[in-house]
């Protein structure tokens, strides 16, 4: 029962939703792709960011203005979490990291349940339902902002990794941890910085997501699986890959929903996931940062 008239608007909707996925995946690709930390707490940290922006909104701070607070705050949280908990508890073993981040996510979620209850929270802003006419379709303003922000964030991260000393240090640690240490790089600090930057991306994602979505202690689950798919599709550690991957996943989900039925829209995402693992395990933009 597909109406061809809505095909293009649906693809554009998918594109803007994909931008949201890209936003969540950008931080993950840094942590997961570059440092090989399988961060199961990624979704929980997104939830922390969303609650942060939500409570700031209660004090009258617009979610987009909250970026100024939430990005540094989440960076600090990520840094401290990696420095004091994940790094220490993992004893240098990548396998331990997996369990530690899983444990951290359970603790964070349950703390959120305890303090914020299981209630779903939403905010209403004057622009929440604003639409922009782009000729072929009406597009939600917060989604357009998210699309622009994901492009900007991907560019900033790329610049940071490619053009700064910190980026060089991160790449060095990612490539050869021991060698980097011998060259005088404080590996623990770089790990914490990378984790902090990845988490800061979630702070940005949270502020951009809040005007169009809801918050609950379990909200991380809604996005984190898709974010992992995006990272695998785009190529681990590739920011442009995460961006393109996110957009591609968004469009695929949207069009599959339209063609196969809305409840089956997510099949496309996971078919892509499996196909990527089978035929191009390094992802579309496969080479790691070097």
């Amino acid at each position: 029962m597909l109406d061809p008239v809505i095909l293009l608007p649906a693809a554009i909707n998918g594109l803007t939703m994909g931008a949201v996925y890209a936003l969540v995946a950008l931080g993950l690709t840094l942590i997961y792709g570059v440092l090989h930390i399988i961060n199961f707490a990624h979704g929980s940290l997104l939830m922390v960011g969303l609650y942060g922006a939500f409570f700031l909104h209660r004090f009258g701070v617009d979610p987009y203005l909250a970026l100024l607070v939430m990005v540094p705050a989440l960076f600090a949280l990520g840094y401290v979490l990696q420095w004091s908990v994940i790094g220490r508890a993992s004893h240098g073993s990548d396998q331990n990291v997996l369990l530690v981040t899983l444990g951290a996510s359970i603790v964070i979620e349950n703390l959120a349940l305890y303090f914020f209850s299981a209630d779903t929270q939403t905010i209403d802003t004057p622009y929440a339902i604003a639409m922009v006419d782009i000729g072929v379709a009406l597009v939600s303003l917060p989604r357009l902002i998210a699309l622009g922000a994901s492009l900007a964030l991907a560019a900033i991260l790329w610049l940071l990794i490619a053009r700064t000393d910190l980026g060089r240090a991160i790449r060095a640690v990612a490539k050869e941890r021991q060698g980097a240490r011998l060259m005088g790089i404080d590996v623990d600090h770089i790990f914490a910085m990378s984790f902090g930057i990845g988490t800061a991306c979630l702070g940005a994602a949270a502020c951009l997501l809040l005007p169009m979505f809801y918050v609950s202690p379990h909200i991380g689950h809604v996005f984190v699986l898709v974010a992992f798919t995006v990272v695998v599709l785009g190529g681990m550690g590739s920011f442009s890959g995460a961006l393109i991957g996110g957009l591609l996943i968004g469009v695929t989900e949207s069009l599959c929903g339209l063609l196969l039925g809305e409840s089956l829209g997510q099949i496309g995402i996971f078919l892509i996931f499996i196909a990527t693992l089978l035929f191009r395990p390094s992802g579309l933009f496969g080479s790691r940062l070097s």
């Binding site: 029962m1 109406d3 008239v5 809505i6 608007p9 649906a10 909707n13 939703m17 949201v20 349940l113 209850s117 299981a118 209630d119 779903t120 939403t122 209403d124 929440a128 339902i129 639409m131 009406l138 939600s140 169009m212 979505f213 809801y214 609950s216 202690p217 379990h218 809604v222 996005f223 989900e253 949207s254 929903g257 339209l258 039925g261 809305e262 409840s263 089956l264 829209g265 997510q266």
Partner: protein, 411 residues
């Protein structure tokens, strides 16, 4: 020797204490009689996991009733025995719900109240039946909950068929009353047993009453984006839009409709996630305006229902149907305990089976269980009017007049 003497001394102390207690009990028999054994009742809901909000609300409703009953002197026919709530968490999973029933059985509960969701109820009622535990089902609308011949199961609220039948009946009255402006329908439902069952029934029943179903759209839980569904609704232009989904998806869908400026003649939910929610009305007054819902609702004419509303809101909670349904279920059990006169499971089952309890806050008649279903239960149709939720049908319980077709909504 010294050691032995010490041990003897301790024994003396203990013996003395025991003797003292015995003597004092003879001395104050009235005081001891007042301390009747408490009656353990399992309050089983999904307070963690995806259904945790509803589960928590349900638990609060039950606890408020228990506090009231205990403060008023407990179960009088049992010497003022207090109800002791054993709180259990089904974690939004049927298997965990069944395991919790086993634990509650070990703890010696006299009855179980819960567990909100249909899927969990199917498991918990069956587990409770194995031990002969009376199980009052609060919400869990799927009809199989009471059609499996379990004599321990008593559902206080209406089932799915009754709800859908009433919803259609009320819809026809509303539509006929306005000169039949609506003829075409679109259904948007979530994919679990609740939404799918509803869609199947509506697809078979609505055409019998002259409605044409243009399209039925099923969506996953969670669905992150309703823009495409809104686009399809916009392309089809149905007179009536019938959503059947949980709160989170309902909110996203309602906002997508508002964004695309879609205004059908009515948005008529059945057991809708948001349309009978004070939270939704408060947070999205424009998106909620004029939305109708056929759902569990309190009787706005009953003072007790309004007192409970006030008490709930004082706790900074929304007065959702989970609260007043569970509140009423506890009173239903208390009434059965009063009549049974003992915390014996079989006696409670017999008392529930013959219940005519009518001191609830619902727009129901006296309770009357037939094969475990309360035949006195019925849903009502509500509409969001003037930023409040009003009952519009049946007229006997109405607190507002239906506004139909829906006017243009601002925002």
């Amino acid at each position: 020797m010294t050691k032995k003497s010490n041990r003897l001394s301790r024994r003396h102390v203990l013996a003395g204490a025991a003797a003292g207690a015995a003597v004092s009990s003879f001395g104050f028999p009235a005081v001891l009689r007042a301390q009747a054994a408490s009656i353990k009742v399992g309050i089983l809901h999904p307070v963690t996991g995806p259904l945790s909000y509803s589960g928590t609300q349900s638990r609060v409703g039950a606890q408020m009733a228990i506090e009231e009953i205990n403060a008023a002197g407990g179960i009088k026919s049992m010497g003022g025995a207090k109800i002791e709530a054993l709180l259990a968490d089904a974690q939004s999973r049927p298997d965990v719900g069944a395991a919790e029933v086993e634990k509650l059985n070990e703890a010696g509960v006299a009855a179980i109240i819960g567990p909100y969701a249909s899927g969990i109820a199917l498991a918990t009622t069956q587990a409770a039946a194995r031990h002969g535990i009376p199980h009052i089902v609060d919400v869990a609308v799927v009809d199989q909950v009471v059609t499996r011949g379990l004599t321990n199961t008593f559902r206080f609220g209406p089932g799915l068929k009754k709800t859908v039948d009433t919803a259609i009946e009320n819809l026809i009255k509303i539509n006929d009353g306005a000169g039949k402006p609506a003829r075409t329908v679109m259904i948007v439902h979530e994919e679990s047993a609740f939404g799918s069952g509803m869609a199947t029934t509506l697809n078979s029943e609505l055409p019998k009453h002259g409605f044409e179903i243009l399209e039925t759209i099923k969506h996953a839980n969670p669905t992150r984006d309703f823009s495409n569904i809104a686009l399809r609704v916009q392309a089809r232009k149905p007179d009536l839009l019938i959503p059947a989904n949980y709160y989170n998806e309902y909110v996203l869908f309602a906002r997508a409709l508002q964004q695309q400026r879609i205004v059908p003649k009515a948005i008529y939910s059945i057991l809708g996630g948001g349309a009978s929610s004070y939270k939704f009305v408060k947070e999205f007054p424009q998106a909620a305006s004029y939305v109708m819902d056929c759902n569990h609702w309190f009787d706005p004419r009953k003072a007790a229902a309004l007192v409970l509303k006030e008490k709930t809101e004082k706790r900074d909670l929304f007065y959702t149907y989970e609260v007043f349904m569970n509140y009423s279920c506890v009173y239903l059990l208390a009434d059965a305990l009063e009549r049974a006169g003992r915390a014996d499971r079989a006696a409670i089952i017999a008392a529930l089976a013959s219940s005519t309890f009518d001191k609830h806050v619902m727009p129901y008649g006296p309770t009357r269980f037939v094969n475990g279903q309360n035949e006195g239960a019925q849903p009502v149709t509500t509409q969001v009017l003037d930023k409040d939720i009003k009952v519009i049908y049946p007229l006997a319980f109405a607190s507002g007049n239906a506004v139909y077709p829906m006017p243009e909504r601002r925002g």
